[in-house]
Amino acid sequence: MELYQLTTHEASRRLAAGEFSAVELTEAVLERILAVDNDVKAYLTLTPEEALAQARAADVGASLADARGGQPRGGQPRGLPLQGIPMAIKDVLCTEGIPTTCGSRILENFVPPYDATAVARLKAAGAILLGKTNTDEFTMGSSTENSAFFTTHNPWDLSRVPGGSSGGSAAAIAADECLGALGTDTGGSVRQPAALCGVVGLKPTYGRVSRYGLVAFASSLDQIGVLTKDVTDAALLLGVIAGHDPRDSTSMDVPVPDYTAALTGDVRGVRVGVPKEYFIEGMQPEVEAAVHAAVGQLADLGAEIVEVSLPHTDYALPVYYLIAPAEASANLARYDGVRYGLRVGGGGLIETYKATRGQGFGPEVKRRIMLGAYALSAGYYDAYYLKAQKARTLIKADFDAAFGQVDVIVAPTSPTTAFRIGEKVDDPLQMYLSDVFTLSMNLAGICGLSLPCGFDAGDLPIGLQVMGPAFGEEAVLRVAYAYEQATEWHKRRPLL
């Protein structure tokens, strides 16, 4: 096995045992990126020199600590949770001194003067940052095809999309181009690409992780999540980035448990809900079959399977695509060519705004700004935006009622496996439908993850979604880990 193939927890153990150095591990991953990223195109920006400097600091810390039998004066202190682990960051999270483009021409030359809290916490935990991964522009998309720079390719089949918007991070994990990655999830942008790339993608509860330094899309829905090679790594990374931050007033002051303690492998007596509304006409039969088989496996492991109903699921798509664009139209008002980003001169100030935004934003971003501005405009606010907010209450109430009966809910993550590049770009509504199983969770603010549960006839991965109530990450991780350990899906790797 090559070093770049290791999970975070395996690499941590072997680094601590002195089997190899952080520099050796980082070099192995950088060489892997050089070998495959011309095909996969997961990264927008690579920072190999910074990564190797961070790796040397991790090694100095470890060796000085050994020599002196204590904590070193130079380098990193020993025993940090992610010491020497090479990781990737989705390019919507601010990184000090490193370009943060959001996949957009309008921020092509933006270099943040500070780190997002989630990034700062990874660094403080000893992680090594390899670079920034591709995303649909401002995270608006389900395939990375809306990136202004290029499309990322699915490592399982390079003619297909990796999903999105965190498609760069998901593909980087699947192609062994990093050991762990950060993504963001506003309507499924961590879980759907995780499903399409055959990796683990965890969306924490709204309020679980600070969003300071995350470039905003839809503020009542956005959440930072992790993409990893297995469930154990997801628990480890969540433990590092979770927790209250005075700089994000929407981060909840709730204690952060040891998430790895939930990885018991035991699901006896756990109540697992299966919502009938998530098995719909038009979904790929192999996806449906794989998810039903996974439910059967959980029953074999001793879980109690309960049929539940989430009756307003059918309304989640319109509710989401009214609320999220409305919030986006407000959040993206800041791109006016004054304080940062592109400026296209056009005479007066108003003309400069219009020219800058008209040229700087891509088609999907403009489409959503238009949709959101319309839903908020005089005469339509009650019929669209307010109506959607009221329906959101009903969707959240569905989950509240279901979690009165069960501990977790399982469902497919995406109705299909990875689709072909170009297949849905001209039909926005078809593209939106690829998020039909993930949107509700963001509207309700709850947590969940996707993990591999099979492959279709074309050898493309299928994702199982495990959902939990607000701050119910431990139940989600417990069920996901037990399923993972009882199956072999997570051990398969694409041939590149």
């Binding site: 933006f110 270099v111 003067p113 709204y206 309020g207 009542s220 005075p246 007033s249 929407t250 909840m252 059918d314 309304y315 319109p318 695509y321 009214l322 008002a333 006016d336 004054v338 304080r339 940062y340 980003g341 592109l342 005479g347 007066g348 100030l349 108003i350 003309e351 400069t352 705004y353 219009k354 935004r357 008209g358 040229q359 934003f361 088609p363 403009k366 489409r367 700004i369 238009m370 949709l371 501005a373 319309y374 405009s377 669209y384 307010l386 109506k387 959607a388 907010q389 009221k390 329906a391 959101r392 209450t393 009903l394 959240k396 926005p428 509504l429 939106y432 309700a444 603010g445 607000a470």
Partner: protein
Amino acid sequence: MKLSREEVEHIAELARLALSDEELTLYQEQLSAILEHFERLQELDTEAIPPTATVLPLRSVMRADEPRPPLPREDILANAPAAEEGCFKVPAVLE
């Protein structure tokens, strides 16, 4: 819900987006199709349902008002398309 050309132009104006004729035509078609698909939301009876703006039980979060050093001005201005004498520079607003 069919959007007129005038409505699409009005929204672009509200959103401060300079759009080409082709874009206006495309968005008129696409937004009309999307809104038509969303019409079924109107079948829900939400008369007695309160709106959800946030899922959090938080309201008016306050923190201690302690002075801290801000980011250096030159770091902030380094990203500005145009700056002069420590300020953002914009086209003339008043003639």
